[in-house]
Amino acid sequence: MLLTITTTLTPATDLGFLLHKHPDRVQEFSHAFGTATVFYPEASEQRCTAALMLEIDPVRLVRTRSHGSPDFSLSQYVNDRPYAASSLLAVALGDVFRTARAGRCNARPELAARPLPLEIALPALPCRGGPELAHRLFEPLGWEVEAAAVPLDDAFASWGDSRYVTLTLRGSLRLADALNHLYVLLPVLDDSKHYWIAPDEVDKLVRAGEGWLAGHPERALITRRYLGRRSSLARTALARLAELGDEVEEALEPAVAEEAVAGETALDEVLASETWASADADAAPSAGDPASATSAAVPVSSAPASSVPVAAEPEDRLAAAEAPTGKPAPLNTLRREAVLSTLADLGATSVIDLGCGGGELVGALLSRPRFTRVAGTDVSPLALTIAARKLKLDRMPDAKSARLTLFQSALTYTDKRFAGYDAAVLMEVVEHVDPPRLTALERVVFGHAKPQHVIVTTPNIEYNVRYEFLTGLRHNDHRFEWTRQEFAAWAEQTATQYGYSVRYAPVGEPDPDLGPPTQMAIFTLGPAKEGSDD
């Protein structure tokens, strides 16, 4: 809600010219979501401070979100927007100081062109990644950074720090650059996906990032977060049900990657001309490389799985197979390849992907003509929407779409549509099921659908120690991860109960002691006995 810009230039009041706002006036600017006020708490020859205060009306904020979008969640009404230096403040800043951002000042052109002693203060900056990330983002730009975490609640010390940081930036920079840094980095630090989505973000980013973004070491994180905030798919129902159960919405999000952010390709093209570094640490960091693992650690803990090339599971960004040289293929790719080649070896021609997520395996199956019938099913309507988009279902030729069935189902409910396939694939699915509900899944898949083959892949928890920065399980929604022994025990028991035989295969380069990063079991229905009369 508050941003102050101080300069000790002489005369300091020239700041008024540069900002195009007179130090002795109080000016109001109306926005759809509230009112921005610019005033000067101090304005002397030695020191001049401009304050931008944004008052947000949460009720108006909801109404501006989108026409006809229904009320769905309390977080729309009770949120930090009226207090925090959020992406909304960036929007107001971009607007109120538009000319200054462009570096134009007819009255003092030479001042606009040269670095000035500046101090910028943001009392409550939402900062996903903590003070440390604020340092990482601002210091490379020439700022001296002072960032202190705000405690969540003084009376509950055990609750720890809030996501807010009291930030002070000091440095000698061009004012226009300073404003553009804020304009881009406030939303990046905020990293909130609920509020404010503009259609032309890519252009804005390119313009505001001119001259500094291309060389920024955290460029990948900045662009991904800046654009990744845009979630085009409504999650209203999930948000409501989350609140109903006293949960946060993120806790209910399905483990699925959303489609490529529209415009990202265009951005790549524009920025390619600025000779962006080609070594993208984020795309496929390897476990052994501390630098890349560090850069990946932040999005793993905080970013929603929402942009490409981020895969469905954050673990896939953590590491793939160990390879001393060159880039290893991501684990999710290796896993998909392993499943595909196993299916081919089994001679399966019809396959159902149970828990298909965003449809990566389904797409791969469809691209191989040997699979004449392919089904993808998931419990999440959101996942299915993403899969349909990624597969370009609406433009798929008849001959291809005739091979495909995509539908919502739940693996704890028997379903006739599961039956009639040579093979069923449960790729990284069982670990998303609460252990007490696994017996229902077993009954539904092995007892009712009863395909000739069932392929199950799941993380090998023993391997997790190889992921230097991983704490806990590989995904928030994982209810468990198994050791090789636990997996085998489950598989043997299930196979015996339902008349299957089972064998195992590693996915990814196995560690001699820890085994492979992903373990795979291949179940095959035992030979049927001869029937006889009663």
Binding site: M1, L2, D24, F39, D71, V78, N79, P123, G531, D534
Partner: protein
């Protein structure tokens, strides 16, 4: 005059050339909706009834419509020429696919009549050639149409016969819907005559015989008729059958007193002192001794060496006019197949019993008819026993068994009896595969390790409303599976003989007197247990759920889709998830200065609805919790089918378990609820509660949402204030902004205080409290319908550190004093930071009256409406309650429906349906602040 009789549910195929008068005939004898004509279908697909190019498409459509009608059980008449075999064949196949009978009615008119009729119709300009050709086809057909596969071909020759013909409808053979019982349905007997007599006696049947229309009580002893002494059989109340309410199915064994009834009669003693609940292990001994000693109710006395008198019932009747129903397999394996047949045949012939065919009757008849059959599975015993019987009896038995039908629909279609059960699509149908299903059941085509066919678990998939009762597969204990039950408890294998009383749903069983035949498969193999499997069809798509409280509730497809995701990813086992709480609306918005909500509106609302007494209950502001508790793991297994040793669950409004490991909470809560087992006379209970503190469950939500707002506001507002103060010091005009910011600063402090009040640290269960305020259900009762005074006083007896009591106040709405008292109570409570209270009618009130409204406190509402809501009350007063209130009513009806279905012992999917519906409706977008 010819009467053409067609089955009530059948496909009627009209056959005749163009112009033979089929449409006129159909219109005269059938409802317009029953007749599907090819001309009409041709018109639908071509805009021209005579466009011959559209014929294939027209027949596609015709077959489609006919198929849908037949699957829905509707008599259908096909009006097309059908003069060619191929056309008829495809219709016969269609009927077979839907397991209905198919009749043909041939209209054979003179060629010139048909030609003349066509000529008089301008739309039929195809000339005489067509008719002549069709007539040639018909002639060829008529000679062999009887072999087409029609049940019956009715040929009407000439105009007169067609004109005068009438149509009659035959009931399906299986249709005995007019019989409404009450019934005593008896499981597989397999020649166990003595056990049958004992069971019938336990059910209150009395032996005797009918002579010249007169009933003479008595039995045959050692081959000689012995009339019963009047006092022994008329003055004696029937042995009270041990009853077991479904679905716990713990039918109590009744000691066999009946076998000695005649003996008692002879000695003039009363046989009424039946020993109850004799353990099966002793039962055989009891039977042998009591029969041998000839004294009733002797208990396990010394075995007698005397030869047992052969007491045979030749016929039986029930003093209350009950009807016995035998599920088949009367014969084979056991000691006295002829004796069983004699008794059952007399009862059936006299109309006091009905009997369906079992696979063993089927095979025995074939053997008796001299067909080659493999003699196995106890057939030899029957053949040997019948060989000793006299020939006329064998002939009678053969006719009887040959004439048995495979299934009956009884009691208006609410009860279906078939030997091996019957899936819903086959009820009332007739075809080879229906008969085969009813006789042998559904098999997977595989065999198990004992060489017996593996049965397909059709009952698990059964979703019909009719109760299906059957036998065929021996189990230790009869178990209800989706409104179906198997009564074969392996009497001949030394198990017991079981009957089901309908409509009482009581199970009565008597132990076998001995192992008469060794089972290939050990009878003590684990019995089949309903795994509680739910099918996607139970919940997916747009659904209309019938409730007894608010008629039908519609669940839109997209809501069901969201609920499916949450339910299957996060919810507890559906066998615990037997209820979800409905949403609750606030009262009309208050106009009082400073308030959005106030008790006044709540009282007014209920008073206007005619409610005189309400209860005000303190709202606890924790997390809503539903607790299901079983007294023991055994009770959990018996009632809920949960066999992993757990004894309960505590879950949230979305069905999610409260803690990763629920056992400690469940154990402690069970300890706290100990007094309830006795009070409720139940070994399980379901409670509606609030779990405290809020922070125990909602910590993450508090951190990311509420405390974050607190932290941001507490940091940003003072900074803004100091900047503004400095600006004001410079003489800038920021006065209004300063005031506003100052007010917001103090609002932020109040907001922080509002949420912090509901947070306190917990360590494991230390600090967690549970406030139960309603007893939702216990065995056989949907106690949610009880008055709130009962709930509060019953729960008030729980004295345990875990339990928080719910403060409450009853209010007489016609007393202003009483209202004022409650309002003052609310003021005090909310001023101290309480969330507020819920106002409910003191007793369950049917109709469209809110089951309760929540009146929330002024400070609490900051959490809901934001720290500064008090600044814009006028704007916020414009809130719309209609949708929320409607949802509250619908969800409440669904919740009560789930509890009522649970109390009625309905199948899991039936309980799950409304529970799922509540979750689905909760995903409906409404103003979340209400």
């Amino acid at each position: 005059m010819t009467e053409v009789r067609v089955p009530e549910l059948s496909l009627v195929v009209l056959v005749g050339v163009s112009g033979s008068g089929k449409s006129t005939f159909a219109a005269k004898h059938f409802k317009p909706t029953q007749v599907i004509s090819s001309d009409y279908c041709r018109g639908l697909v071509a805009d021209d009834e005579n466009d011959q190019a559209a014929t294939p498409a027209a027949f596609d459509l015709l077959h489609h419509i006919v198929g849908i009608r037949l699957s829905r059980g509707l008599l259908t008449v096909v009006d097309a020429t059908n003069v060619q075999y191929a056309a008829r064949k495809s219709l016969i196949d269609l009927a077979k696919r839907h397991d209905v009978l198919v009749d043909a009615i041939v209209l054979d008119v003179p060629e010139e009549v048909a030609i003349a009729r066509n000529e008089s119709r301008p739309d039929r300009d195809f000339g005489a050639g067509v008719v002549i050709r069709q007539r040639k086809d018909l002639r060829r057909s008529l000679s062999k149409i009887n072999r087409d596969g029609f049940r019956k071909v009715h040929v009407l020759h000439g105009l007169d016969e067609i004109e005068s013909a009438t149509i009659g409808h035959d009931l399906a053979w299986s249709n005995k819907k007019h019989l409404t019982g009450p019934f005593d349905i008896v499981g597989d007997i397999h020649g166990c005559r003595s056990e049958l007599q004992t069971l019938l006696s336990a059910l209150g049947w009395q032996p005797g015989r009918e002579i010249d229309g007169r009933w003479e009580p008595g039995t045959e002893i050692n081959g000689t008729w012995h009339p019963a002494a009047a006092d022994a059989l008329t003055g004696t109340p029937p042995a009270t059958p041990a009853s077991a309410a479904m679905p716990s199915a713990d039918a109590t064994a009744v000691a066999p007193t009946s076998a000695d009834a005649p003996a008692a009669a002879l000695t003039g003693t009363h046989p009424a002192t039946s020993a109850r609940a004799t353990p099966p292990a002793d039962a055989t001994a009891v039977a042998l001794t009591s029969a041998g000693a000839g004294s009733a109710g002797a208990g396990p006395a010394a075995p007698s060496a005397d030869p047992r008198p052969e007491v045979h019932w030749v016929d039986a009747r029930h003093p209350d006019g009950r009807t016995a129903v035998f599920v088949g397999d009367l014969v084979d394996r056991g000691p006295d197949t002829p004796g069983v047949l004699r008794l059952v045949m007399s009862m059936v012939e006299a109309g006091r019993a009905i009997c369906v065919a079992g696979n063993h009757e089927q095979k025995l008849v074939r053997a008796l008819n001299g067909r080659k059959v493999r003699v196995a599975h106890g057939l030899q015993e029957s053949l040997d026993q019948l060989a000793a019987a006299d020939e006329s009896f064998v002939a009678r038995a053969r006719t009887f068994m040959d004439g048995l039908l495979s299934h009956y629909q009884l009691d208006g279609g609410n009860l279906v009896v078939a030997h091996a059960g019957l899936k819903e699509a086959y009820h009332g149908r007739a075809s080879g595969r229906v008969r085969s299903f009813a006789l042998y059941g559904d098999t997977t085509g595989e065999t198990d390790e004992y060489g017996l066919p593996v049965r397909y678990p059709w009952a698990e998939e059964y979703r019909g409303r009719a109760m299906v009762v059957y036998g065929h597969t021996p189990t230790i204990e009869p178990t209800w599976i989706n409104n179906t039950i198997c009564l074969d408890t392996g009497a001949v294998f030394g198990g017991s003989l079981t009957a089901l009383r309908y409509p009482e749903k009581q199970l009565v069983s008597v132990p076998a007197e001995q192992v008469w035949y060794e089972s290939v498969k050990p009878l003590n193999a684990p019995g089949y247990r309903d795994p509680g499997t739910l099918d996607i069809g139970d919940v997916q798509g747009t659904r209309h759920i019938e409730t007894r409280f608010l008629s039908r509730v519609k669940i839109p497809e997209e809501n069901a889709a969201s609920a499916l995701e949450v339910m299957s990813r996060f919810a507890v086992d559906p066998r615990w998830l037997l209820y979800l709480p409905p949403t609750m609306a606030p009262p009309e918005t208050s106009r009082l200065d400073g308030y959005l909500e106030h008790p006044h509106e709540a009282f007014e609302e209920f008073a206007a609805a005619g409610v005189t007494q309400v209860v005000c209950e303190e709202k606890h502001m924790g997390s809503r919790a539903i607790a299901v508790l079983a007294r023991t793991p055994e009770a959990a297994a018996a009632r809920f089918g949960i066999t992993d040793g757990s004894t309960g669950s505590v879950y949230t409004r979305t069905g999610r378990p409260f803690f990763g490991d629920l056992a400690p909470l469940v154990d402690r809560l069970r300890e706290a609820c100990e007094p309830l087992w006795k009070t409720l006379d139940s070994d399980w209970v379901m409670l509606d509660c609030e779990l405290l503190p809020w922070s125990a469950k909602a910590m993450e939500l508090i951190r990311t949402q509420y405390a974050s707002v607190g932290a941001a506001s507490r940091t940003a507002l003072p900074a803004a204030l100091s900047a503004l103060t400095a600006a004001a010091g410079r003489g800038l005009d920021v006065g209004e902004l300063v005031d506003r910011t100052r007010r917001r600063d103090s609002n932020a402090a109040l907001f922080r205080a509002a949420y912090a009040r509901y947070c306190w640290p917990v360590d494991g269960l230390e600090g967690v409290r549970l406030a139960p305020f309603q007893i939702l259900a216990c065995e056989g009762r949907a106690t949610a319908l009880e008055p709130h005074a009962w709930h509060l006083s019953t729960l008030g007896t729980l004295d345990h550190p875990l339990i928080a009591q719910t403060r409450h106040l009853f209010v007489s709405l016609d007393s202003q004093e009483s209202r004022d008292e409650a309002t003052a109570w609310w003021e005090t409570m909310t001023a101290a930071g309480g969330e507020g209270m819920v106002v409910k009618p003191a007793e369950h009130t049917p109709g469209r009256i809110q089951p309760g409204v929540k009146v929330r406190g002024r400070e609490y509402l900051r959490i809901i409406y934001g720290p500064d809501y008090t600044e814009s009350l006028d704007l916020l007063r414009r809130r719309f309650l209609g949708k929320k209130r409607s949802l509250a009513l619908r969800e409440h009806a669904l919740g009560l429906e789930a509890l009522s279905r649970l109390a009625d012992g309905e199948a899991l999917w039936r309980v799950h349906e409304p529970v799922f519906g509540v979750l689905a409706l909760e995903s409906e977008p409404v103003d979340p602040r209400l």
